[in-house]
Subunit: 555 residues, 2 copies
């Protein structure tokens, strides 16, 4: 038995590179401010909801400006939502800055996500404990959770916990929703004059928490690289065995940044982009026809193999599927009360449902393979709704392509398939050097924002395609990224999600080349994430970021 793998041991000793703007140490950082900010949309509503934290200026750290006050500050930190590689380094960076500022400062970690601060379940970090988690993947250091911090009662309890521990700032590491709630908490604490600050850190492997100020959320780099490794390996297998079509679903329900990055890294024959499907109002049939066409063309060129990438959220972006599923939810709610339905065999159930759907939805439902119909009826969520995340979209497409191929007189080849789903393999991978450095800087920077007395800010590190020595650091007011959106029928303030921009340089790069990818074999094999080799192998970030920043793509 052993405790750690050789790589785990080696990575514990990695010294993450701190952003150039912070590298002189927390005591030497100076701050300056831009003018007042606004919101991306719905300024009046946002201002009304966040009276006390709205419109604050963007903060920048450098060696010019005001010094930070090194008051005694105890801080509490929370991991919120799904795992992303590098979360532990955010905490390590925060801890190091806090202790460098004043060795009597305390850092508390709330256990199991936001519920930890509400229920006052916590640990206090010390050197020995934190050192075991440096540069490691996972959120197991204190655990994470999905409780939403949003009610008055929760805020009251949070305040009580902070007062009991003499905590004067809370750092929330989370995605768009968690940071929206961080801002609500900041507003509440400020309105009550508690003096307790709230700072957010941008986390999500999906890469959809980004905007004019935030270049990328942490974890995206490592997760996309891990999936690229696997997709590349499978491509090499496809290209060696020359007998399988691999349909690979990639985690990510609301945006396809991961799928697009992996597509650019590996150059597969097919990569579906949910945002394009929605924008072009593509039907399931048209998607299946597109895939079938590629399969047929390749077969006619003697290639009975290929690789297709499918975004996890695809189904929810196909208008007719969305309509059908929503109708199905209503129908099932009433049918579940009828014993004649409940006791029926599957095939009978399908007929009953089909008869109750309108023509268009019935057509869509009937076009689905029985495996998928069965999945739609099984395992509904606690509200009785179809669990879209349980639908095996990769198998749905395989079955429909198979059926389609039988109708195609121009298809003379063979079609044998393999289905894959990658998600959990990447969320907790050990962070790449980029994510290790970026996260450490985000955490360190969060303490600089705390020292500057700020609240309602998101920790912000910029210039990320350059070496860390050139990275800028600062803070962005959370309200600046917000607008009003409908959630469960109500208008709510939320941080605007960044979907794939179909006119942006990343999608354009893919669009320009995808026909070539489809028919020729342009496979690239990224291989495993490297930590110790040449900089171009170990330290470059994603193609997405390089293309977005219009720097010459270096690696």
């Amino acid at each position: 038995m052993r405790d750690l793998s050789p790589l785990q041991k080696a990575r514990l000793n990695y010294n993450p590179k701190l952003a150039g703007a912070l590298v002189k140490g927390i005591k030497n950082v100076k701050i300056s401010f831009s003018g007042a900010t606004s919101a991306v949309k719905d300024e009046n509503e946002i201002k009304e909801l966040f009276k006390d934290v709205y419109g604050q200026p963007i903060a920048s750290f450098s060696d010019k400006g005001e010094s930070l006050s090194m008051l005694n500050k105890n801080v509490g930190v929370i991991l919120s939502g799904g795992q992303a590689p590098g979360g532990h380094n955010v905490i390590a960076g925060l801890y190091d800055a806090l202790k460098q500022a004043n060795s009597s400062n305390k850092l508390y970690g709330f256990l199991g996500g936001p519920s930890g601060i509400i229920d006052s379940e916590y640990i206090e970090f010390n050197d020995e404990f934190i050192n075991e988690y440096r540069n490691t993947g996972g959120f197991d250091i204190i655990g994470s959770g999905r409780t939403k911090l949003e009610t008055e009662e929760q805020f009251e309890k949070t305040l009580a916990t902070c007062n009991a521990l003499n905590i004067s700032a809370i750092v929330i590491i989370g995605g768009d929703d968690s940071n929206t709630n961080a801002c609500m908490l900041a507003q509440w604490l400020k309105a009550k004059n508690t003096g307790i600050q709230v700072i957010g850190c941008p986390k999500t492997i999906d890469g959809d928490l980004k905007n004019s100020q935030i270049e990328i959320s942490f974890g995206f780099d490592t997760a996309a690289k891990t999936y690229s490794e696997l997709v590349g390996n499978i491509q090499r297998d496809a290209n060696s065995a020359k007998k399988y079509w691999h349909f690979i679903k990639l985690m990510g329900r609301s945006a396809t940044h991961v799928g697009l990055e992996v597509a650019l890294q590996t150059q597969p024959n097919i990569a579906l982009i949910s945002e394009e499907v929605e924008a072009k109002k593509q039907s399931l049939k048209s998607i299946v026809d597109y895939i079938t066409d590629v399969v047929v063309k390749r077969a006619n060129a003697g290639k009975n193999f290929g690789v297709a990438l499918i975004p996890e959220g695809l189904i929810e972006f196909i208008p007719e599927m969305k309509t059908m599923i929503s109708a199905l939810n209503d129908i099932l709610a009433s049918l579940e009360k009828e014993s004649s339905f409940v006791n029926a065999q599957n095939e009978e159930k399908y007929s009953i449902i089909s008869a109750k759907l309108d023509n268009e939805s019935a057509g869509v439902f009937n076009s689905l393979p029985s495996l998928i119909k069965a999945q739609l009826l099984m395992d509904r969520d606690p509200h009785g709704n179809v669990q879209v995340s349980k639908i095996e979209t990769e198998k749905l497409l395989i079955e429909m392509v198979k059926a389609n191929l039988k109708q195609r007189s121009d298809f003379k080849g063979k079609f044998s398939e393999q289905a894959h789903f990658f998600g959990y393999e990447g969320r907790c991978a050990a962070p790449s050097n980029f994510d290790a450095d970026y996260c450490y800087s985000l955490g360190y920077n969060a303490f600089a924002l705390i020292s500057a007395g700020l609240s309602g800010y998101l920790s912000c590190i910029k210039n990320l395609t350059e070496p860390a020595a050139n990275w800028k650091a600062g803070g962005v007011p959370l309200t600046m990224m917000m607008n009003m959106e409908k959630r469960h029928g109500k208008m709510k303030p939320v941080i605007q999600k960044a979907l794939v921009d179909l006119n942006g340089p990343v999608f354009k790069e893919f669009e320009t080349n995808r026909e070539k990818y489809a028919l020729e074999d342009c496979y690239v094999y990224p291989g495993a994430i490297q930590y110790f080799g040449p900089a171009e192998v170990c330290d470059c970030t994603t193609l997405t970021l390089q293309l977005e920043q219009k720097v010459a793509v270096q690696c």
Copy 2:
């Protein structure tokens, strides 16, 4: 668009380490021999079948002994069977030795596996071409195939191809079956006095081509490390989210060396070993009960999560399942002719089948979840038989554990599951330094055996847990590893497969610790394969090999 990833570029320049015994170059290698050899079993039958290549001595290369003749030799090489990381380096090593011996020597690569030599489809290698494939994964350099070289007609065509190209030696890179056929070809060519030699190289990610002479087949190291990376990542996710049980099936139908190595690398809560299931005649029920017990014990300790490893071939090692599937094959053959069965709905089909099975098999069949019953009936192979490889064993176990938990009054926890299958992700991974070095040495050594005029030998590199400078090199007569086994009802000569030895040090290490793995969280996170870092991170081979060779485990 790009052609190569940064890692691909960097790896092209890696200089694989040649075994110490060969490092002075092909022209300076000397050969010596042990006494005559025998077969592992059935000596008389093997001797009779392989009259002209039976009993040859073991060959060793060093700087003492006879010099090799540097005659002009053209060689043909074949990749046979499933992909394994490092195959390209076997060819690169062979090419380099052949050109160093005599720059006018030619190396031909036969396309698409053994059928390439039969049909005379080939390329001639040159520097530029071979340089593009150094240290890369996959078998795409010339492709592979599963044609078995075994008939007189195939041998005649092979001879014709060799004569046409003036080829005097064939190198077959393959697993146990391919090397058995290599030996048949060697015998045939020698009996006919053709002067054409045949040399094998031991390939398979399954790790079951090993014996007193062959320490390990190539590809096992990289594949097991790639799966370990993924399993470790998933464990970190399980241990962070603390809400899922992950059931992970690992490729490998006949032996569980991969599963056992991954279990030692990652220390999961459960790892099933097919050889143990067979030896202890475990029933499906007893396996499900064992898993359920672990789930319940962990839940009662507040841990509603875990990771279980399932070998792909499990079902075929459960005696009652084997019996039931074999009965099912017979029953389905006749039922498929009855339209009342063919047109029946699934549930009816299950009743019809169940009525025709004997009591024990009916009990097993009826205990299966309907998903699995459906898989047994769908997609049969060309002979009409159930395709065991298509059965989702990981889902079978999940469904049965779920059903079991409902009966357990002592279970108060939650059970949410995720199913995974890893196979294609590892077969074509870029070779680890170990596999890159080992394969290069195997190929280089194959040409040394050819230069020594030998035929019917397997290329052999030993001492593999030591640094490459201490690796020994030589050749083992293929007949030495053979015995007679029943295949499709007939006794045939085959290379004996190495299954997991339940009394060996590797299984014992696992057995000693598995209860601890089950209940405590002993997860180890191996991370991605590294190529450039410290030796203990980059150059160590598997724990299996370290334990088998009883060296102090170094990494």
